[in-house]
């Protein structure tokens, strides 16, 4: 399985651990990622200039089509915008014409064909729960997880076709495969607040706070996310705010959780790079790593 990896603008400098852990997990599951210099997905400029947003997305799609590759992205906003652009290009001949006029100047062209997939959909649909299950070496035990879906992967469902928009189960199933327990919480499908960060901060923080309270009431130890912006919000933005105190409920990236259960190395999961960490995760990791090392040394003797 081979994909063009679309990292998105922020990941490399703000959330490196998401990139390294995603790569490691995918590599372990036999997915090959191709790297190319791509441009912004067009999500941030969508508020201001739709044409620029669609062109940004279409350029990436055209590059992928030239390489005969489908796109895999770990970011739900990138995923959502690339999908949205496809729907506009598909439905509107005039949009298509205008965008292709721009692309032609660079020797590129958009046409139907390139698929855009989110990390989670590749794990769930292309690799499959069973294949993942066989790789789990250290099932996560005793951790309650609140999976946060992220708006732009889920809605508008007509465009993104990620899962049932009203009652999705994909993320819960993926979390449970690692051995962890999921909690059901009423705000799981709501927004993390990041789209309003630096546009209306008090509102953005309020939305996050509501979600955190709700997840904590449901008894979660962790929030689990699979989106660059959601994690930035739940981790870095939260940590920058002295008033937001739900530090007992840190957020973990899904490939970090999966990587832990697959027994991947600590230096690619980089859990310590998450700003808000809780005692029990650190403790969990420590005992887990001791376990891995013991097994290794035993295996070494036997071999």
């Amino acid at each position: 399985m081979k994909f063009l990896f679309f990292a998105g603008c922020k990941i490399e400098n703000y959330l490196k651990q998401y990139e390294t852990s995603s790569r490691a997990v995918l590599n372990e599951l036999g997915v090959e990622l191709i790297d190319m210099e791509l441009n912004c997905c067009g999500y941030p400029i969508r508020h201001q200039n739709m044409v620029a947003s669609i062109l940004s997305a279409a350029r990436n799609l055209a590059v992928a089509s030239k390489l005969h590759l489908d796109i895999l992205t770990p970011c739900k906003c990138c995923f959502g915008n690339l999908k949205y652009a496809i729907s506009r290009l598909r439905e509107d001949a005039e949009v298509r014409k205008k965008i292709n006029l721009f692309l032609e100047k660079e020797g590129l062209f958009w046409e139907e064909g390139v698929q855009v997939k989110h990390l989670l959909s590749v794990l769930y649909h292309d690799i499959g729960l069973n294949a993942i299950r066989t790789r789990i070496k250290n099932p996560i035990q005793g951790l309650k997880i609140a999976p946060h879906y992220g708006c732009h992967a889920l809605r508008p469902s007509r465009v993104v076709q990620f899962d049932n928009p009203l009652a999705p189960t994909l993320f819960e199933e993926l979390v449970e495969v690692t051995g962890a327990e999921t909690v059901s919480w009423s705000r799981r499908l709501e927004c993390c607040g990041n789209p309003l960060w630096e546009r209306n901060n008090s509102l953005s923080l309020y939305m996050m706070q509501k979600k955190l309270e709700n997840a904590q009431d449901a008894g979660a130890d962790f929030i689990c996310v699979a989106c660059t912006y959601c994690q930035i919000q739940f981790d870095q933005v939260r940590a920058s705010q002295p008033q937001n105190t739900h530090y007992g409920l840190p957020s973990i990236l899904y490939p970090q959780l999966l990587g832990l259960s697959m027994g991947l190395e600590r230096d690619v999961l980089m859990i310590e790079k998450n700003v808000i960490d809780s005692q029990h995760l650190t403790r969990y990791c420590r005992s887990y790593h001791q376990g891995v090392n013991e097994q290794r040394s035993k295996g070494g003797k036997n071999g």
């Binding site: 603008c9 400098n13 912004c40 067009g42 044409v51 940004s56 949009v95 546009r199």
Partner: protein, 575 residues
């Protein structure tokens, strides 16, 4: 005389220019974090830091940066091997030309006692270095022509640099070519070294030089008689040979002079060699005087920038030297455009044509603002839009061959723009209420009807929202509507926005809180029983609002300028 006057004049302009540029490092200011620091204070801090530095071990790292990164330009090597090759040849060849040729009396003659400009290896090397520089210039011109984004971005400073450098080189080659066939120079030399102007005596030498050295005499010279040539050769070996290598070693100028032979007599008679000589050194001196104000200043600012950045990946936030570091960084830009080629938001430039989206152009505007001037004709709105289009991808910072910490600069410039009331549309739209905006949109007579060429507006066609039955489902699921009053919940709900559209009151909707506080969660759209694309419509209202806002800002700045003008005019009238 002329030579000395122009030399000292241009030297003093150069020195004052350098002082001015250096002083500016302490006076430019961008970013609220460095606001209000005095130039003197900054100088003191910089001096202290430097003093401390000279006695620390980090100085070794400094030397490494100077030799490895500056002389061998490793950052450029990482960007592009071809550019590195041409640049490094151009740079080192030019430096050698300056030392070996322009300053031959001061340097070359001291090092090599037998130096003569017409002797090898000096004559050969001068041609070699000259052609290397010229090749470099041609390479950089071609690069600008071939790479699309640069055609428009090439500005006067770039052109001036190319023009001056190529004029120096071309006039140098031309001068040497003309000197090769110049009979007046021949006559002068004969008079000086043979101490005779008797035609009988000099005739064999003339024949020899006409045949072997390519001199063209006013009257045809007999070069067919072998005895005459060998007589000439004897005189030549006695008087001339010790200072003249064969002209073919000037492997550029000699072929040039052969090609120009048909005009040689005319050129000799007007003493083209003297004119070209004036032209050549005057253009060199213009280059010298212009150096501090030109692109060539990067010879100084880039090594300095690399050294003060000292390999740090992110600047420390409370570094007291940040203002100076930023200014030196801005001065180190060569306008090479590499950053823009890699910029993640290049497609936005393609669509909007706003040059401030591209980092290489944005830097010029930011520098202008830093020196206290308003931005160029593009205006504040364009500068602000360009700055806020950046996605913080760090690519420009990584690829910049001059090692400028562009990301730090963009962070500072965004804060600076916000401070000056030129922030994001979001920030500005909140300053007035929806109905105030509606009034403004009408006052400046901004057409309310959708631009037919604007492909966005398809979602806004009446059939997209006319099916709304005002059931309020969208408002009920919207997380923004359910906000507590303390967070200044929006004055209208998504369902009411739809109603405004049905009443053809787009302008009122465009400035409303609901439109700008929408989280883009798409709950509304997902749940609408009528299948109305509520969130998409809100996106488009923001698009249109941002567009109208831009126009209002432009109009307001124009009318405030006009007002200022008419105010000052009426002042004058009163007097």
């Amino acid at each position: 005389m002329v030579y000395n006057i122009t030399l000292y004049l241009s030297l003093s302009i150069c020195v004052f220019g350098l002082m001015y540029r250096i002083f500016r490092w302490f006076s430019l200011s961008i970013g609220p974090d460095v606001e209000g620091e005095s130039a003197a204070g900054r100088m003191r801090t910089a001096c202290k830091t430097m003093l401390r530095f000279f006695f620390s071990r980090r100085i070794l790292n400094f030397l490494k940066i100077f030799f490895v990164d500056s002389l061998f330009q490793t950052r450029l090597f990482q960007t592009s091997k071809a550019r590195w090759l041409f640049h490094i040849l151009l740079f080192h060849a030019f430096v050698l030309l300056v030392f070996m040729h322009a300053m031959d009396d001061q340097i070359t003659r001291v090092l090599f006692s037998e130096y003569e400009s017409t002797l090898n290896p000096f004559m050969f090397l001068r041609n070699l270095f000259g052609i290397l520089v010229l090749l470099g210039v041609v390479f950089f011109i071609l690069r600008r022509i071939r790479q699309k984004p640069f055609q428009k971005a090439t500005n006067r400073t770039d052109l001036a640099a190319i023009l001056i450098l190529s004029s120096i080189l071309l006039s140098g080659f031309l001068l040497e070519a003309v000197q090769i066939f110049s009979s007046p120079i021949f006559d002068e030399m004969v008079l000086e070294y043979m101490r005779t102007d008797d035609p009988e005596e000099t005739a064999p030498l003339e024949s020899y030089w006409a045949k072997e050295y390519g001199v063209v005499f006013p009257k045809a010279v007999d070069i067919g008689q072998p005895e005459r040539i060998s007589a000439g050769q004897m005189i030549h070996e006695e008087n001339c040979a010790s200072c003249h290598s064969r002209p073919e070693s000037a492997f550029v100028s000699y072929p040039l002079s052969i090609h120009m032979r048909s005009f040689a007599r005319a050129l000799n008679s007007i003493r083209a060699d003297i004119w070209l000589h004036y032209f050549h050194f005057i253009i060199c001196f213009i280059g010298l005087a212009y150096l501090p104000f030109s692109k060539f200043f990067h010879m100084i600012s880039i090594p300095l920038n690399l050294m003060i950045r000292n390999g740090e990946s992110r600047p420390e936030e409370d570094d007291p030297n940040n203002a100076v570091k930023r200014s030196i960084g801005m001065d180190a830009c060569t306008h090479c455009g590499v950053c823009s080629l890699h910029c993640s938001v290049m497609p936005i430039y393609r669509v909007t044509g706003n040059p401030n989206v591209l980092p290489s152009e944005k830097l010029l505007s930011v520098k202008k603002i830093a020196s206290g001037k308003p931005p160029d004709k593009t205006g504040w709105t364009a500068v602000s839009d360009g700055n806020f289009a950046c996605t913080d991808c760090f690519r420009c910072t990584k690829v910049c061959p001059s090692g400028i910490h562009l990301h730090d600069l963009w962070q500072a410039s965004k804060k600076e723009l916000e401070r000056r009331d030129h922030g994001k549309s979001d920030q500005l739209i909140r300053k007035r209420s929806a109905s105030q905006w509606e009034g403004l949109f009408e006052k400046y007579d901004i057409p309310g009807s959708p631009d037919p060429d604007d492909l966005l507006l398809r979602n806004m066609a009446p059939e997209t929202f006319s099916a709304c039955v005002q059931c309020t489902v969208c408002s009920n699921v919207c997380p923004v509507v359910s906000l507590p009053v303390s967070l200044s919940s929006p004055e209208i709900t998504p369902q009411q926005v739809m109603n405004l559209l049905r009443l053809d009151m787009k302008e009122l909707a465009m400035g409303s809180r609901m439109v700008w506080d929408c989280m883009t969660c798409y709950m509304c759209q997902e749940h609408c029983p009528q299948g109305i694309r509520v969130a998409d419509i809100l996106y488009e209202l923001r698009n249109m609002g941002a567009d109208r806002l831009q126009k209002v800002r432009l109009m307001e700045s124009v009318s405030s300028e006009k007002k200022a003008d008419s105010d000052s005019a009426s002042e004058r009238n009163k007097k």
